[in-house]
């Protein structure tokens, strides 16, 4: 198992480098000039100098190489410095955003907590709701509960977040005036009242995200439990005279959790991607919203870094899912 994990991790490096090259070339191909907003009165030579100051004078492979060095060598040093107070990265050039002229990773580090709060809470909530419903639906297949559950999850599966978002805003924020529609990211939690404010402003975005995830997970959990309920070992367990509770909860559920756990792991990066729309609707100041604004401002280093972070998440969670599958299911051995 360990060798397998190590092999996968090593193999991930060329994959990631290829992905970063693909993203970089895509951005290179793109038209659009970071100097487009500079007034026309600025003479062309000055503009050219400004362009070179942004690192645009060199051919693309040198630019790419520099980006690789900055991202994989200098940024980890900066992180190390911040943690231990050392000065390895002092004076070295980091990935700089063209919008704010400040290091990209600093901005990302500011934004990630917002995204993690909303997305993380939604994900945990969705798992807590979806799994019991899925198990019970499968146990009572074709009952009213199952039909209702399947129907609701089909709806959650089909209604896109850019519709549920405004819909919930109209109902809960405009008509009923129970909840705020805008997520206030500078809000600080320091006592019970401010905690309640934080809770109330999180309800709507979390609901939108959780509905989607619940629908997906519920379908998987139901299908997986159904598969297991018809297995021979369940009949054996019942024939031994075990209580129905034990049969379902400790035999069936544990086995049907195996594929579901990997699906949960595989979906984590998707959620980050899908949260872009939710963040835009509720004006959560997270990384999705950062990507959108960077795109519109033609801030290529920021876009490049953010997209690559998403790619790292995908590759990483793919490996986690595969390894988890091997750990949980003794029938599967990679070595």
């Amino acid at each position: 198992m360990l060798t397998y994990t190590i092999r996968r991790l090593v193999l991930a490096i060329p994959t990631l480098i290829f992905i970063s090259l693909a993203i970089f070339l895509l951005l290179q191909l793109a038209p659009g000039d970071p100097m487009a907003q500079v007034p026309l009165t600025v003479p062309p030579e000055v503009k050219q100098q400004m362009r070179e100051a942004l690192g645009l004078g060199q051919p693309w492979y040198i630019q790419y190489y520099k980006w690789l060095i900055q991202f994989f060598w200098i940024e980890p040093q900066v992180m190390f410095d911040n943690m231990f107070g050392t000065t390895f990265a002092e004076g070295k050039l980091r990935v700089i955003s063209w919008q704010t002229r400040s290091p990209v990773m600093d901005i990302v580090a500011q934004r990630i907590p917002q995204t993690l709060w909303v997305v993380g809470v939604a994900y945990v909530l969705a798992i807590l709701i979806a799994l019991p419903i899925g198990i019970y639906s499968a146990y009572r297949q074709y009952s009213t509960f199952d039909n209702a559950g399947t129907f609701v999850s089909m709806i959650g599966f089909s209604i896109p977040p850019f519709f549920t978002g405004p819909l919930l805003i109209v109902i809960f924020a405009v008509q009923l005036e129970w909840l705020p529609s805008v997520y206030n990211t500078v809000h600080e939690v320091n006592d019970w009242d401010s905690f309640m404010v934080q809770l109330r402003q999180m309800v709507l975005p979390v609901m939108v995200l959780a509905l989607q995830i619940t629908a997906q997970l519920n379908r998987y959990m139901r299908a997986s439990t159904l598969d297991n309920l018809n297995q021979d070992y369940v009949r054996t367990a019942r024939a031994k005279g075990l209580k129905e509770r034990t049969v379902v909860l400790s035999h069936v559920v544990r086995n049907s959790m195996i594929p579901v756990v990997t699906v949960i792991a595989l979906n984590v990066p998707n959620i980050f991607g899908g949260a872009i729309i939710t963040e835009v609707i509720f004006k959560v100041n997270g990384i999705g919203q950062l990507l959108i604004t960077a795109l519109f401002a033609n801030d290529l280093p920021m876009v490049m870094t953010l997209t690559f972070i998403f790619a790292i998440l995908i590759v990483l969670f793919n490996i986690i899912a595969d390894v988890l599958y091997g750990v949980l299911d003794p029938r599967i051995r990679y070595d």
Binding site: L29, A30, F162, P166, V303, L306
Partner: protein, 322 residues
């Protein structure tokens, strides 16, 4: 010498029941899935509505009529008699006086054509890659590695990047903003969503390739191309059809999401997603402008998903006939 009359089993000259083709079996199973029948019916209805509707409701979707702006849909008159309603605009008008029913119809046309076109492209690439990878052993490794690689690309961010960055040159290339956007969005959604189809098709082809009928075909000298066309493709049709329905749903949602984020179609060539996005800032006063396109998207996707569910059950011979 055997006398055929002595064996009862050899006597029936013809089968007791009409021979049934595979597709009538499939149809019977499909009919039993109520959701699928409703889904298929609704999808047919929507498709016909957006195809024929503009000929029946001949109001121009882009005609500005500033005197009749901000009209409410006709049903608002049921509870609010002072609301500005009228039968000449049954779904009301927007802030520039454009008729919403006409916009919904033309927007649906755009959304559905983007969905179908993108789905067909994804299906074509996916089937091609899947069949080639499954059939030719030498190409299997590289092609599947490539598929895995594309699968680990962050799709939504990349879509956003590509659509924002390539908007201008393609608009210039196609000669009109909506033509350029159509090509761009369809191509990009198609290119980024073929991977699941490729994987499924490859798996099926790998299994089918070892079967006797392929061996028989090969032994009488059938060429590779003909084996693939005549023997393999008809047999992988069912997984392809199921992934086609999923692809249609995803393509419609992705296009609407792009339009919602403001990188999709321009406002004078609205799709359902764009109509929804344009209505969001004023949804407190005119909630119907968000509801109508939103419901249209959701119902279409819901019906496509149900259709896919039903197709999967109907095309699976293990479930069929139970």
């Amino acid at each position: 010498m055997t006398d055929t009359n002595t064996y009862g089993a050899l006597q029936d000259k013809e089968p007791q029941k009409e021979p049934r083709s595979q597709w009538s079996e499939v149809w019977d199973q499909f009919r039993r899935h109520k959701g699928a029948v409703w889904g298929g019916g609704f999808l047919l209805f929507i498709t016909l509505a957006v195809l024929i509707g503009p000929y029946l409701w001949t109001v121009d979707a882009q005609k500005l009529d500033i005197r009749a702006k901000d009209m409410r849909p006709i049903y608002v008159a049921l509870w609010d008699s002072s609301a500005k309603t009228g039968w000449n605009h049954p779904f009301g008008t927007d802030q520039l006086g454009r008729d919403i029913l006409a916009q919904m119809l033309s927007g649906g046309r755009a959304s559905m054509s983007v969905g179908w076109a993108a789905m067909l492209i994804a299906l074509l690439i996916g089937t091609l890659v899947g069949v080639v990878a499954g059939y030719f052993r030498k190409l299997d490794g590289p092609l599947m590695r490539f598929t895995d690689l594309v699968l680990s690309l962050p799709i939504l961010p990349l879509l956003l990047v590509a659509v924002t960055l390539f908007r201008q040159p393609l608009v210039a290339f196609a000669g009109s903003p909506e033509g350029g956007m159509f090509i761009l969005i369809v191509a990009i959604i198609g290119i980024t969503s073929w991977m699941q189809t490729a994987r499924i098709v490859r798996g099926e082809v790998l299994a089918l390739k070892e079967r006797e009928f392929i061996l028989a075909a090969r032994s009488i000298g059938t060429r590779n191309g003909a084996i693939i066309r005549r023997h393999l493709l008809p047999n992988v049709l069912s997984p392809i059809m199921v992934s086609a329905t999923l692809g249609l749903a995803t393509a419609i949602i992705t296009e609407s999401a792009l339009s919602f984020l403001g990188v999709g179609f321009p406002s004078d060539y609205p799709t359902w997603g764009k109509l929804l996005a344009d209505a969001v800032p004023r949804m407190e006063r005119f909630p119907e402008r968000v509801m109508l396109p939103g419901i249209a998207i959701s119902l279409t996707v819901l019906s496509v998903n149900y259709l896919g569910d039903g197709l999967r059950d109907a095309l699976d011979p293990r479930i069929r006939g139970r």
